[in-house]
Symmetry: C3
Subunit: 352 residues, 3 copies
């Protein structure tokens, strides 16, 4: 896996530069950019994990929270700069759907093929359920319904206000998890188990250098990726919504996807669920509101208002995930149901 990412990055990065200089066809470049980003995201993920172990759980948690979705943040910033507000919202929708349904589904399904029943922390699942409802069902639904008759200025005021609240509550959730209630809901066995595993892959310095270089490279490739969307969409007959929700979301999250499924296969369901839901919450409560605030610096500002299909997809995905995971128990069928929901929504975004 890691070797594959190494090769992909070493081939993809030069090709990305050469191709963009010689103006290769957008479709080919789109493919090269996507694969390169997937590989680079793998490095960012590994560097962040190493650093998180070295720096201890508190700062590590914060680091994960910030860099965990760095790729998406970077792609989105370049999209915002290009004025592609609707693609940003679509790709964040896709990130939520992809994490909950595709990655969650694959983790439950593949883990479930090996183990008859897999269990994870019920308390953690219920805590996460509350946050998912807060962010998707409250913070995303309210502006949608309230802004139908609002002018653009008030819509942005409301969006900014909600974004600030989302970020503050996200920081409070980190405080709750890593400081005030660290281990409160965990059994003693679990805590020991976790301690044994924490051996960093890379040294502190190496991790920082790799993190910095990969992030710069992702930024470079992302900027070029965004410029191919238009032509690729026309070539394949894909709408902006489909590119954003399905393609960009898969590319931006591929590395995380792989590690969640691997954890499920090793029966470490607590980690798998943490990646799946934690990453969703990061996108909804941190990446998205940061982008809303950043968009004020660009010519086109981005309100916190999704299209109805995007919003309803996220709400139903959240409800399904909560219903299937609330009992702290998963099996192959739970996974299949999540995957089936992803396919249904994918079909919807394709035909729309």
């Amino acid at each position: 896996m890691n070797r594959l990412f190494m090769i992909l990055a070493c081939i993809g990065l030069p090709l990305s530069i050469i191709g963009s200089i010689f103006h290769w066809s957008a479709v080919i470049m789109f493919g090269i950019y996507c694969l390169t980003i997937i590989a680079l995201a793998g490095f960012i993920g590994r560097a962040t994990e190493s650093l998180a172990i070295v720096l201890g759980p508190r700062i590590g948690g914060l680091l994960n929270a910030t860099f965990g979705n760095a790729v998406e943040l970077i792609i989105s910033i370049f999209s915002l700069k290009a004025g592609l507000v609707s693609i940003v919202l679509a790709s964040l929708t896709g990130s939520v759907l992809g994490n909950l349904l595709l990655v969650g589904g694959l983790s439950f399904f593949i883990g479930g093929l090996k183990y008859k029943r897999q269990s994870f922390s019920k308390h953690e699942a219920q805590h996460n359920a509350g946050l998912l409802i807060f962010s998707v069902v409250v913070a995303f639904v309210i502006p949608e319904v309230f802004t139908t008759t609002m002018n653009d200025q008030d819509t942005m005021f409301l969006s900014v206000g909600i974004s600030i609240i989302l970020i503050l509550l996200y920081l409070a959730a980190l405080l709750f998890k890593f400081v005030t209630h660290r281990g409160v809901y965990q059994s003693n066995n679990k805590q020991k188990e976790n301690h044994e595993e924490e051996v960093p892959e890379w040294s502190k310095l190496k991790a920082i250098i790799i993190l910095a270089l990969s992030t710069i490279a992702v930024a470079y490739v992302s900027e070029h990726l965004v410029s191919t969307f238009n032509e690729v969409g026309e070539t394949f007959g894909w709408s902006e919504l489909f590119i954003g929700v399905i393609i960009v979301a898969i590319v931006g999250n591929a590395a995380e996807h792989a590690s969640a499924v691997m954890m499920a296969y090793k029966n470490k369901m607590d980690v798998a669920v943490e990646i799946v839901v934690g990453s969703t919450l990061q996108v909804a409560m941190f990446v998205l509101p940061i982008l809303v605030l950043l968009s004020l610096l660009f010519t086109t500002s981005m309100p916190l208002v999704f299209t109805w299909p995007e919003l309803i997809s996220m709400v139903t995905a959240v409800l399904l995930m909560i219903m299937l995971s609330n009992d702290g128990d998963s099996n192959w069928f739970d996974g299949l149901a999540l995957l089936a929901a992803y396919i249904i929504m994918g079909l919807g975004f394709y035909f729309i």
Copy 2:
């Protein structure tokens, strides 16, 4: 009960034939047809149960899944043939509402009058909750929201795609329940208890003959029943929606209704809940998608798109049922709340 059905069938069937030959008034014939179908459905139910016991739980489960809602399937096919797409969707809505709220409510209420607290499998309830959310909240809501701006052809493509996924997931759910995870979530006591009861009422041959004859008779009566809808609606001032949601749904499910309530009265809540929710899932994940696919053979094809009142009624009914049953515990008040919800929706469909 069984004797009553016997008498009803023996009187109703000849009257149905005589009446349709001599062109009796539509309102009278509507009454005769309804009572005859209720009686015949009772025979189909008993024959299916006998066969299910003889053929073992796996094939029996499949049989129940196919014939359990045979009456509704047959009525719906004749309605589709007559181009009454909206009545089919309405009657399936009514079937979902009737099962969850009316039958579920009566079972909880009447069982609860006799027993202070009744309990059933919490795991089963949560598994069912996931399927209800999947089918009603994901698979029905998504096409509703996505097709508002779609042309008819894309709407049908999306409907067919979702229907196929629903059927496949339904088959997977049967595989999960009867093969890979049979008994995994059950306590040992329960399994023994179940074994004792399984004595078929009729022999294999007798059951097959009764099943075949009743099904043919239901088909005959259903075809004529459908032709009376128009006149009956005008006479009583009932909308198509009201006939479909309330009347047809009660007729098509009467036999199941009776047996669920009887099981609750005997404190066999696991069986009662299985009938109530199992039948709902059958309609949503098997009967309805089959009808969408079959409709392609007729002149008017049926998309998976309900009216908003139908959809919202189903979604709220599902949420209420999940909330009341998720703790694996029922009482008379839970039943009353479900019945009150049914009356509220009935009023809504009457006034609409």
Copy 3:
């Protein structure tokens, strides 16, 4: 606390009368009226509690159910008389949101600052969750969706029908709680604990006199309060919706708010949750339907149809509260999430 209410009432009541005679500015009078009502509501609350203890839990429960939201009922009746239907619906929305999110949030937050984990009856929480879904998600959502194409007369018929069902089910819920299932879901320890505390603050006669006098005084002040809405709204640039949802709701519930938070601070979470959710259910299942029925006596009748922002706010607030409280366990973060949701909705109603 009690002394503060005493002083407030003794100053506020004379000022209310003097001010209204000498036509002081509406904004000043609005402030005086609000503070006076808050103080008087405190007396009503204490008198009701004393009476409830003297008269025993059954009649006491009924009494609490009737007088618990007396202030809101009185303000609403005067608003209805003045034809301010939309302010009544808004203030009831605000009452639901204020109870669930503001009071619930403050209770969980402040209690959670003192205690790491606070727990309350899981069974009670799940019973309440069913009632919240029934009233807000079924009984309020159904008329909203069904009446979009309905004429005014049918809308009122449907509203009256649903209101009657709500009241009947509310009475049934009291019967269930205080008669047929009293103590069924409670542990023995709890029952003892409760018995010890029940010492009334005031004698029966004193409580009745205070209750009567305070109620008359609230009625007087409320009538004048309603007449200031128009001018206050213009002065501060507040919409009718904002005045109703945020201002009136806080004033009408301030006394209850204080006692819920105090209970949480004393780690009596069962009582705090009972006040928060019990009061919400009272408003939704008793006060509101009574007002719909009473409105038939006035010139402008009030249908059970909220604006979409009001409805969606209530639905999402209910879902969030259920998700956070369903595990029978609260902490400071749960409280903060509820408060954050309240602020988001408050922003929405301010900008709308």
